[in-house]
C-alpha cells in the first residue's frame, strides 16, 4: 500500500492549491479525484470574483492571502490567470441596506481593508450609465478583483505536479479503514492508500465522505445559476453586487472579465437544495430583468451561455476547516458556501504553513471555522 504524507480527496478549488503548497514544502501528496480532470466539480462553475472584504476575520485573512497570491501569479510563477483588480461595488438604493453596509464598513475598516462608502457620482464614474434613481451611494473596495477559475486551477495543477504532487483522476473514494482515532487507509475503486494526514476537500460531497467515517459534516449543496455574455470593449470596472431581494431571488452579481465578457450569477430564494446542475427556464428572465433595471446599458449585450453550479452551504454560511476530534489525522477543508475559488489559494497557503511549519500566526482561523462550533451565527454577505 503506497503511503503519502498527505492525501487530498477532491481536485477542486480548495484541493489543488493546497496540494501545491504542501508539495512545495517537500511533502509527498496524492490528490484523488472522481472526475476526469481538475476543477470539474464546482470550480468550473465559479464566475471568478475574489474579494477580501468579508464580514468575519477568517475569510478576511484567507482572501487577503488569495489576492496576494493571484495578483502576483504571473510575476511569481509565469502563469497569466486573467487577474483584474476591478474592485467590488455594492450599490445601495435602500436605507436599510445603507445602514447595514455602513455598519459592516466599520468592522471591515477595523481590519484595515481598503473599502469605503462612495457617493452616486463616484459610482457613476466606475459604472457609466448605472441607474442613479434613488441611488444612495455604496461601498467600494478597489483592491478586490477577479481571475479565471479555469486558468487559476490549471496553474496550481501544473505547479503542484512540478513539485511532485500526484493526481489520480477517475478514481472514487469508497471507504476508509480506521483504527481507533486515526484513518489507517483510504480505499478507492482502484486501490488502497495510506497517509499521514487525509484531507477532505470534496465541497458539495463532504457529507458523503463524512458518512463513510460516521461523521456528520453539515455541508448541504444548493444550486445557483450563472451566465456569460459575448465579449465587448471594457465599459465598467467593478464586480457589482446588488443585495436587494426580489421575488424568487436575493442578491445577484456580475462583472466584466479580461475577455470583455460579462459574467453573472444569482442567488435563488428559496434555495434549490441538491446536486442537480441542470438549467431551468426560470433563470434568464429572472436575472436579466434585474440586471437591465440596475444597468440599462446591458440590454444590448447578447447572452452566450448559462450553467449551474453548487454552493456547498453550511448552516451558518461559513466554511468548515480543521482537524476532526474523532480522527486526529482527518482534516476538513470544505463547505466554502460558493466561495471556494476565492478561499482556496489563500487557505492552501495558510493550512500548509499551519500543518507543516507549525505556524501559529493564523491558527485563529481554525478556531473560528471548526466543525465543533455552534453554527448559530449568520454570514451577512454569503
Amino acid at each position: 500500500m503506497t503511503n503519502y504524507d498527505f492525501i487530498i480527496i477532491g481536485a477542486g478549488s480548495v484541493g489543488v492549491p493546497l496540494s501545491f503548497y504542501l508539495a512545495e514544502k517537500g511533502m509527498s501528496v496524492l490528490v484523488i479525484e472522481k472526475l476526469q480532470s481538475v476543477g470539474r466539480g464546482q470550480n468550473r462553475a465559479a464566475i471568478g470574483g475574489i474579494r477580501a472584504t468579508h464580514s468575519d476575520p477568517a475569510k478576511i485573512t484567507i482572501c487577503r492571502h488569495t489576492i496576494d497570491i493571484v495578483s502576483r501569479m504571473e510575476q511569481t510563477y509565469g502563469y497569466d490567470v486573467d487577474w483584474i483588480s476591478g474592485g467590488y461595488l455594492f450599490p445601495v438604493y435602500q436605507e436599510k441596506d445603507e445602514v447595514a453596509l455602513k455598519k459592516l464598513l466599520e468592522f471591515q475598516k477595523h481590519f484595515e481593508l481598503n473599502i469605503d462608502w462612495i457617493n452616486p457620482a463616484e459610482i457613476e464614474a466606475l459604472v457609466p450609465g448605472i441607474n442613479t434613481e434613488k441611488l444612495r451611494g455604496g461601498t467600494y473596495s478597489p483592491e478586490d478583483g477577479s481571475a479565471s477559475p479555469l486558468k487559476l486551477i490549471d496553474a496550481f495543477y501544473m505547479l503542484a505536479q512540478q513539485q511532485g504532487a500526484e493526481f489520480h483522476f477517475n478514481e472514487k473514494v469508497i471507504g476508509f479503514e480506521t483504527n481507533d482515532t486515526t484513518i489507517s487507509a483510504i480505499k478507492t475503486d482502484r486501490g488502497s492508500y495510506s497517509a499521514g494526514i487525509v484531507i477532505d476537500a470534496t465541497g458539495a460531497h463532504s457529507r458523503e465522505i463524512g458518512a463513510m467515517l460516521g461523521l456528520d459534516v453539515p455541508v448541504f449543496p444548493e444550486s445557483h445559476e450563472a451566465g456569460i455574455t459575448e465579449p465587448v470593449k471594457r465599459f465598467f470596472e467593478p464586480m457589482i453586487v446588488d443585495i436587494r431581494p426580489a421575488p424568487g431571488s436575493t442578491n445577484y452579481y456580475f462583472y466584466q472579465n479580461v475577455e470583455g465578457q460579462v459574467v453573472f450569477c444569482i442567488t435563488p430564494e428559496p434555495g434549490i437544495p441538491g446536486l442537480d446542475c441542470d438549467n431551468t427556464s426560470v433563470f434568464l428572465p429572472q436575472i436579466v430583468s434585474r440586471m437591465v433595471a440596475l444597468y440599462p446599458r446591458l440590454r444590448h449585450l447578447r447572452v452566450r451561455r448559462t450553467w449551474r453550479g453548487l454552493y456547498p452551504m453550511t448552516p451558518d454560511g461559513f466554511p468548515i476547516v480543521g482537524f476532526t476530534r474523532e480522527y486526529r489525522n482527518f482534516l476538513l477543508a470544505t463547505g466554502m458556501c460558493g466561495q471556494g475559488f476565492m478561499i482556496g489559494p489563500g487557505l492552501g497557503e495558510i493550512l500548509a504553513g499551519i500543518i507543516v511549519d507549525q505556524n501559529a500566526t493564523d491558527s485563529a482561523i481554525l478556531k473560528q471555522l471548526t466543525l465543533y462550533r455552534s453554527f448559530s451565527d449568520e454570514e451577512m454577505l454569503k
Binding site: P128, P231, V232, D278, S281, R297, H300, L301, R302, V303
Partner: protein, 689 residues
C-alpha cells in the same frame, strides 16, 4: 452588381424592393429583407470584420446563423449579418476587434414573459420536421413548429435539382424547392399547427420547457409534452492553412447565397469533397454561371452517387481523387488554392502540387447531425424523437419518409395506440442506403425509332424513370427486389422523353439511327442554351470524354420540369455513347503553369470563433496532458459564440496529432444557449426603433 439575373431553374422574382443602405458611410443598394451578408456580397464586399486575435479578416462562413464569422456593426449593434434582414438606410460598419456597447441608458420600463403551450414542439421545418408535423397534426395534436429561417423547407429550399427516390414516397423527380412549397402549403392547412419562422430554439430546460428566440427580438418559453428534433445537420469543417480566409465556406453556405438569395457570389470555385453535397454544389455553381475548376477528394473513389459525378464530369469539371488541399491564400480574401496528390498514408506529395486561381473554396467534407437538443431532452427524461439529418445524415428523400415515421412514433410516446406500417421502416431504410454495386454497361443496337440509353449503372434508391414511362418500357431489374435495383429498357419506347426529363441524374438519353452515318440523340439540358438550331456543340460520353461537335437539330423546353430537350445529329457510332453537353471548356479548369504556395499545415484554424490554430492546440494538449475537452476552454476552445459547433468535429484529429487516444478523451459538456440572445429580447423589452 453581383446578382443572378437569369437562371435555368430558379425564377428571379420581379417585385423585389430595392433599398439603399450604407457601408462605412458609403451608399449601396440591396433587396429589402435579404440577409445583410448577402447584400454586402452582392456589392462585392467580402471582409466583414477583423478578429482581435491576429488581426485576421473574416467574412461569411456558415450562412446559417450558427457561427459568428459574419458579425458586423448594424445600426450600432454587433449582429450576425447572415440572419439580419436588410432594411432601408441601415448603417453598417465592419467590426474591428471587440464591439463597443451602445450608451443606451433609457431606464427599463416594461418587460414581460411570453409563454406558449403545445403538445409537441417540432424543432426544424425541413423535410423531416414538416412531414413529422403533418402526421402529428392529422392526429389532432397541437404543434409548435420552429424554424430559424424565414421560409419553411430547410435545405429543400436550396435544392434546385430533381430528387432521387420514388415518386409515391418522396416526390422523386421533383425539385427540392418545389417540394418545400408543397409541404409548407400542407402543414399550414392545419389550425392546430403554429409555425414560428425566423425563430431559433436556444435552450431545452429541465422544467420541460424550451426557450425560443424569435424575430431577433422576442423570447418565448414553450411548455411541451413531446419534442421532435428535426434540426438537420451542420457542415463539417476542415483544417488547412488559410481555412479562415473570407471566400472559404461550406457548400451549404454557398447554396444559400446562390440558390436562395440569388447572389452571384463567385467567379471561380474549387470544391473539397466529392460527396453528393460537393457534386451538387458544383452543378449549382455551373447553373448560376460560375466556373468550377475542380472537385478534390482525399479518397480514391467518389463518395456521392456515380450518376452525379458522371454528370459533373460531362459538364467539364475534373474530379481530383486521392488529392488533398495544401493551402488557401490571398490578401484578405481567397485568391488561390493549392492541392496535391496524397500517398498511401494520405500525406500530400508536394511534387504533385497544383495551384488554381480561384476566389472561392467550398468545403463539402460531410455533415454532422444537429442532435444536441435530442440528447439533452433524453437526459432530462422527456418524450423525444429525432429524425432526418438530425438522426442520420442521408438524402432528403429519406428524411421526408423518416419524418412521417417519427411523427407517429411521437404519437405512440404520447399514449396514442397507433400502428406504424412496418413497410414504412423498410422503405425509409432503403431511401437512406449508400450506393451499392456498379454494373457494366449494356450494349445497345440503334434502330430507326427512339429508345432510351440508360447510364444508371450503380445501385441507388431511385426509380422515377420506371414510374413515368406511359408504356412501362423501363423496369427495375429484380436483383435486390427494391428501388435500389438498376433500371433496364425492355421494349416499345414511344420516344415521349418523360424518362429523360425526370431522371435526377440526367443519365437517360433517347437515341435512334437516322441513316447509315448518323444518329439522332435527345439529351436533357438544365442550362439556358447559348446555342441555336444548326450550331455544333461539344458532346461527351458518360464520364466526360469529348466525342464530337454535334449539330443541334431541335431545342424543346419542358415547363413542368424546367428542362430543355436538345435534339442532336451525331455520328452513328456516337449515338449510343453521347450522354452530355460540355458547358465548361478544358482551358477554364487548368491550374497555374507552376504551383505557388506556402505549406504550413500547423497554421490551420481549429476554433474559428477564437482563432486557435492546430499548433496552439497540439502544444497545449501535450504540455498540460489534456484528456478532457472541457480543459481546452482555458485556451478559449468552445468558449466562442458557436459553443463548439465548428471545432468539435475537428478535435479527434487534433488529439491524434498530440498523441492522445481519442477513446481516452472526455467529451465537452454542452450547455445552453444554442444561439446568443440579447438581454432586451430575453425580457421582451419594448424597444422603440
Amino acid at each position: 452588381m453581383k446578382r443572378i439575373r437569369q437562371h435555368p431553374v430558379l425564377e428571379i422574382p420581379e417585385n423585389r424592393k430595392e433599398i439603399h443602405f450604407f457601408f462605412k458611410g458609403k451608399e449601396f443598394w440591396g433587396i429589402e429583407g435579404e440577409p445583410v451578408s448577402s447584400a454586402l456580397i452582392a456589392n462585392g464586399i467580402q471582409v466583414f470584420n477583423i478578429h482581435r486575435r491576429g488581426d485576421t479578416p473574416q467574412g461569411l462562413f456558415c450562412a446559417n446563423g450558427q457561427c459568428s464569422h459574419c458579425t458586423l456593426i448594424i445600426n450600432g449593434l454587433p449582429q450576425k449579418s447572415c440572419i439580419t434582414p436588410l432594411q432601408e438606410n441601415m448603417e453598417i460598419f465592419p467590426l474591428i476587434h471587440l464591439p463597443e456597447i451602445p450608451q443606451d441608458d433609457t431606464p427599463l420600463e416594461n418587460y414581460h414573459k411570453i409563454t406558449e403551450t403545445c403538445d409537441v414542439l417540432v424543432i426544424g421545418g425541413g423535410p423531416a420536421g414538416l412531414t413529422a408535423g403533418i402526421e402529428l397534426a392529422k392526429l389532432g395534436y397541437s404543434i409548435i413548429l420552429v424554424d430559424d429561417k424565414t421560409r419553411l423547407g430547410g435545405k429543400l429550399l436550396l435544392q434546385t435539382h430533381k430528387f432521387f427516390g420514388s415518386i409515391e414516397d418522396c416526390y422523386a423527380g421533383t425539385r427540392g424547392i418545389d417540394i418545400a412549397k408543397k409541404l409548407e402549403k400542407e402543414i399550414r392547412q392545419y389550425p392546430n399547427v403554429k409555425v414560428y419562422t425566423d425563430t431559433a430554439v436556444v435552450g431545452i430546460f429541465k422544467d420541460r420547457k424550451a426557450g425560443l428566440f424569435s424575430a431577433n427580438r422576442r423570447y418565448i418559453i414553450v411548455d411541451f409534452q413531446g419534442m421532435v428534433v428535426s434540426a438537420g445537420a451542420r457542415e463539417k469543417s476542415l483544417i488547412f492553412p488559410g481555412n479562415n480566409l473570407p471566400g472559404v465556406y461550406g457548400a451549404g453556405a454557398f447554396q444559400t447565397l446562390v440558390n436562395r438569395d440569388l447572389i452571384h457570389s463567385s467567379h471561380r470555385i474549387l470544391i473539397i469533397g466529392s460527396g453528393n453535397v460537393g457534386l451538387i454544389a458544383a452543378y449549382h455553381a455551373l447553373q448560376a454561371g460560375m466556373q468550377v475548376v475542380g472537385i478534390c477528394d482525399i479518397l480514391d473513389s467518389v463518395s456521392g452517387y456515380k450518376v452525379h459525378a458522371d454528370k459533373i464530369r460531362r459538364m467539364g469539371v475534373p474530379i481530383y481523387l486521392k488529392h488533398t488541399i495544401l493551402s488557401a491564400e490571398g490578401h484578405k480574401t481567397v485568391e488561390k488554392v493549392t492541392i496535391a496528390r496524397v500517398n498511401q498514408q494520405y500525406q500530400p506529395i508536394l511534387d504533385t502540387a497544383k495551384t488554381f486561381k480561384v476566389d472561392t473554396l467550398l468545403i463539402a467534407v460531410g455533415l454532422t447531425p444537429v442532435d444536441e437538443f435530442h440528447d439533452m431532452a433524453l437526459d432530462f427524461g422527456f418524450n423525444v424523437v429525432k429524425t432526418g439529418d438530425a438522426a442520420e445524415i442521408a438524402e432528403a428523400s429519406s428524411a421526408m419518409f423518416g419524418g412521417r415515421i417519427a411523427g407517429l412514433k411521437m404519437a405512440q410516446r404520447l399514449g396514442r395506440e397507433i400502428e406504424i406500417d412496418p413497410a414504412w421502416s423498410q422503405k425509409a431504410d432503403i431511401l437512406k442506403s449508400k450506393p451499392g454495386k456498379t454494373y457494366p454497361p449494356v450494349s445497345v443496337e440503334l434502330s430507326k425509332s427512339f429508345q432510351p440509353i440508360i447510364r444508371c449503372d450503380e445501385e441507388i434508391p431511385c426509380n422515377p424513370c420506371t414510374s413515368v414511362c406511359p408504356v412501362n418500357a423501363i423496369q427495375l431489374e429484380n436483383k435486390l427486389g427494391n428501388i435500389m435495383d438498376i433500371p433496364r429498357y425492355l421494349a416499345d419506347c414511344t420516344g415521349c422523353g418523360l424518362c429523360v426529363l425526370i431522371c435526377p441524374g440526367l443519365a437517360i438519353t433517347l437515341a435512334r439511327k437516322i441513316d447509315d452515318r448518323h444518329a439522332e440523340v435527345i439529351l436533357p439540358y438544365e442550362f439556358i442554351p447559348d446555342f441555336s438550331v444548326g450550331d455544333k456543340i461539344p458532346v461527351t460520353d458518360q464520364t466526360g470524354q469529348f466525342l464530337e461537335d454535334a449539330e443541334v437539330l431541335k431545342i424543346r423546353f419542358n415547363k413542368k420540369h424546367k428542362t430543355h430537350l436538345i435534339h442532336l445529329r451525331s455520328a452513328l457510332e456516337n449515338g449510343t455513347r453521347i450522354c452530355g453537353i460540355r458547358v465548361q471548356q478544358p482551358a477554364v479548369t487548368k491550374p497555374l503553369p507552376r504551383p505557388s504556395y506556402h505549406y504550413i499545415p500547423e497554421n490551420g484554424i481549429v476554433c474559428h470563433c477564437e482563432m486557435v490554430t492546430v499548433r496552439e492546440l497540439v502544444d497545449f494538449i501535450k504540455e498540460h496532458n489534456i484528456h478532457d475537452i472541457n480543459q481546452l476552454k482555458q485556451i478559449r476552445v468552445g468558449m466562442g459564440a458557436c459553443g463548439g459547433k465548428t471545432c468539435s468535429a475537428l478535435l479527434p484529429a487534433v488529439f491524434r496529432m498530440a498523441g492522445v487516444d481519442w477513446n481516452d478523451v472526455t467529451a465537452g459538456t454542452k450547455r445552453p444557449l444554442n444561439v446568443e440572445v440579447p438581454m432586451f429580447a430575453l425580457i421582451n423589452e419594448e424597444i422603440s426603433e
